[in-house]
Symmetry: C2
Subunit: 497 residues, 2 copies
């Protein structure tokens, strides 16, 4: 369960004076053959010559092979950014060797944007002597602004001097994220899944959020991995790297952003890399299914950016291949975890809202209605205020049904609503009294994070809302959302003042 | 144009020491044969025995006939309140003689709610010796709470002692509205329409917001009407009443609320009454068309309440009948104006956003996409911050198209975006420079209202955004929205503290 996942997060994983980036660098299990680099620069936006210099981070993810399988899913926004257009073009061949990521300028609807993206990718290709069409340029930032091409082309050749670890890369692609987000899962013995779901005791997954309270990420040579492996593979990556032939393959995921939650930065990005041997077709199929169930089920502010992108790379460096089912079973909980992390560190988020739809015959309908509930400004503000205003949840559900359940497959009269384990609605009426009110208030307060606290994950669980339509035996559909806080407003409206 | 409508609003219509309610009472043109009453009471919610007393206003709209045509449109929320269920039942006969309205408790999903609504209506029927099935009970307030039936049945018989005018009724049905809203239009010579649209110089419409700066609402006996008519028809209504046979019929509209914009109150209500003779079938057809183009094109916070209702009554007291086309032509601008007023006084609203979609082949698609743009939290917060973050508008439009334009009837590449008269996007790219930035900033500041100023309408125009897809010669579709402010958050989240 996602709540269990959240419950595992423990900021105390950081040693005294150690940043969350350093925790990730130290604990992350990095698939063989992937390297990370980062540099930064400053520039004056051409559209605002009068403004002070803006700072940009350029980072790079380099796949050393031996294989170069690649797949991506991109935003469905009808005004996709140049990087999205480039990705659709280059991923069609299923091969990618390097990805460059820049912050501050999203390169969306900017004059000459696509050509600029090609030039950035070409500079990255020259860096590692790669075919340009196997390098991707990804951007996150202001929509409508042009890339500071001159400054970027000047800085890219210096990327090798900025070799860094997973934590450094996860931090480099951040915009207003409150902490770097990375997770990993081993495909080794002990199988796959999430240890804290209770579904598979032998399971083996770690995320940055959970690393601190976990045992060793995989059941082998960790002590050696900490130091030896780290030094031995220093050029590949800081942190531990699965090493030696026959070692279990690993899937590593890095994510940033939470939809359009920042005044001018606009991207949700996630990168998955594995040293398992996976053909691009398989990688793409699994990526699409895993993404649908994870990232497509979250919303921070209901705004789909022009730049959302999830990219997966597989290089076979482990010498092991995995079958499609095994890959998906290991990958899904990792993607779920990263999706949750994205909401948990959403701009100004103080509560994570977890809506579970039960007994809805159609998964897409359940997702749309669930998203409608977590996106309701009145549900979001009530939860922000620790106010168990259950009537608003009913309102949002009824509104969502009227918008999406055109064929009337859901019978509203069957609804049973449970919040924080307390049944509050059944047989067409609420069950409200002072005790229920007090219990719900207390559970909301317990789930409240401090939106101003940045740097490390906060564990306050979620606000669990179950909307059950008994009679249909279907798989639960879970949608994760964020509340609406004054900090969200401050960042998104008052930033000029 | 709606902007013109807003531009007419002038708080100076109030005389020294005169409230906006009194301005409406003095200036409103009231159709013959309609009376208004109001009383108030206090009660302790059964669901919160520990809480301090809540106050409730009960008001009544009484149609004295001779005809009793009635029609209504109600929310499509799948969890409609008891009053909505009752309205659908009773309006099916097309006859209504009185409407009771209470605040504070919405009577939605409350145990025994429908029976309670019937008892309230019955009490109103006894008051005027009417058939119970021709009386409606309408509620606005907390979802899930039960009506304080005992207190209400005790107070209703005293309603006749609370005779009031249009302003008093418009104020009585308010929840957190910032000022009472009423408008009227005469079907007399000079035709119909909105004087400030420029469409019809001879047109003749007034709204509460505009009364102050208008000449006489209709071209006849106003001086006499002020005093004489008022006194002569004191039992019918304070304010002026069209009098005598052959006088032009009048349509009066009263509205409250702005969707679900208050912590616990949840209704957008509008009532239209006319002394024209209109068969219920005609009244219903025109009401549905007028509502679709007005109230169905506004959004404050994207949350459709469980209790939204628009009711129209016609009594033929003018001795005049109007044909369907004439009725619609006069009614539409009045409904448009009231819809705008609802947004302008939305909870915490500081900017009214006016999105015009041009060249969209399907009106419903244009409405859905337009609503998606005005409902984007990032568009709303940017406008609140007087930040011309045009990229967010493109994002929201592209996101809306991906959600609603399933058949791809709109070609995004054709988009021309104009804000405050300035073209900012064409041929797939933004046209941004410092001058444009400064011009847009200035126009946003000029359109900013003070969300804390209540009591009277504020005129700051709108933020006009034109999304033009050239090539299709279609009627413009206009969607009105509100920005997202800290005052909205304060009222909807912090009210407990």
């Amino acid at each position: 369960m996602l709540r269990g996942g959240v419950a595992m997060v423990d900021p105390s994983a950081a040693r005294p004076g150690e940043s969350w980036r350093e925790v990730l660098d130290r604990r992350a299990l990095v698939p063989r053959g992937f390297r990370f680099f980062r540099r930064s620069l400053t520039f004056i936006p051409a559209e605002r010559p009068g403004s002070p210099p803006s700072s940009m981070t350029i980072s790079c993810l380099h796949n050393q092979g031996p294989e170069f399988s690649a797949a991506a899913v991109t935003t469905t926004n009808r005004f996709p950014g140049a990087p999205v257009i480039l990705a659709r073009e280059r991923l069609s061949r299923g091969r990618l060797q390097a990805i460059l990521v820049n912050t501050k300028v999203a390169n969306v609807a900017a004059p000459g944007g696509l050509e600029a993206a090609r030039q950035v990718a070409a500079a990255g290709a020259r860096l590692f002597s790669l075919p340009p069409e196997e390098v991707l340029s990804v951007s996150t930032g202001v929509i409508g602004w042009s890339l500071p091409l001159e400054e970027m082309l000047r800085e890219i050749p210096a990327l090798p001097q900025g070799s860094c670890g997973v934590g450094g890369f996860a931090e480099a692609i951040m915009t207003t994220d409150r902490y770097p987000k990375a997770g990993w899962v081993s495909l080794g013995e002990g199988g796959h899944g999430v240890a804290d779901t209770g579904a598979d005791p032998g399971a083996d997954i770690r995320t940055g959020g959970s690393a601190g309270t976990q045992g060793d990420p995989c059941g082998e040579g960790t002590g050696e991995g900490r130091g030896g492996a780290a030094s031995r593979v220093a050029t590949a990556s800081r942190g531990r790297t699965a090493s030696g032939n026959g070692t279990a393959p690993v899937i590593l995921g890095v994510a940033k952003g939470a939809g359009m939650v920042e005044p001018h930065l606009a991207t949700m990005l996630a990168f998955f890399v594995t040293d398992a041997s996976v053909p691009p077709e398989t990688l793409g199929r699994v990526l699409r299914r895993v993404t649908e169930k994870s990232f497509n089920h979250l919303s921070v502010d209901s705004d789909q950016s022009t730049s959302d992108m999830v990219v997966a790379l597989a290089n076979g460096a482990s010498g092991r291949s995995v079958d499609e089912a095994e890959l998906e079973a290991a990958w899904q909980p990792l993607a779920d975890r990263l999706a949750l992390e994205i909401v948990r560190n959403g701009e100004g988020t103080s509560h994570v809202i977890e809506v579970v739809l039960r007994g809805v015959p159609c998964a897409t309908l359940a997702r749309d209605v669930g998203r409608h509930v977590v996106n309701s400004p009145l549900v979001k503000t009530a939860i922000f205020g620790n106010d168990p205003n259950v009537g608003r949840i009913l309102m949002a559900l009824g509104d969502g049904l009227s918008r999406y359940d055109h064929r009337g497959v859901i019978d509203p009269s069957g609804l049973v609503m449970t919040i924080a384990g307390r049944e509050v609605y059944r047989e067409g009426a609420f069950l409200l009294d002072q005790e229920t009110e007090d219990l719900l208030c207390a559970s909301l307060r317990a789930a409240a994070m401090d939106p101003l606290l940045a740097g490390v994950p906060q564990d306050r669980g979620t606000v669990p809302i179950v909307l059950d339509f008994p009679g249909n035996d279907r798989e639960d559909v879970r949608v994760i959302g964020s509340d609406l806080t004054d900090e969200y407003l401050r960042v998104n409206a008052d930033y000029r003042t």
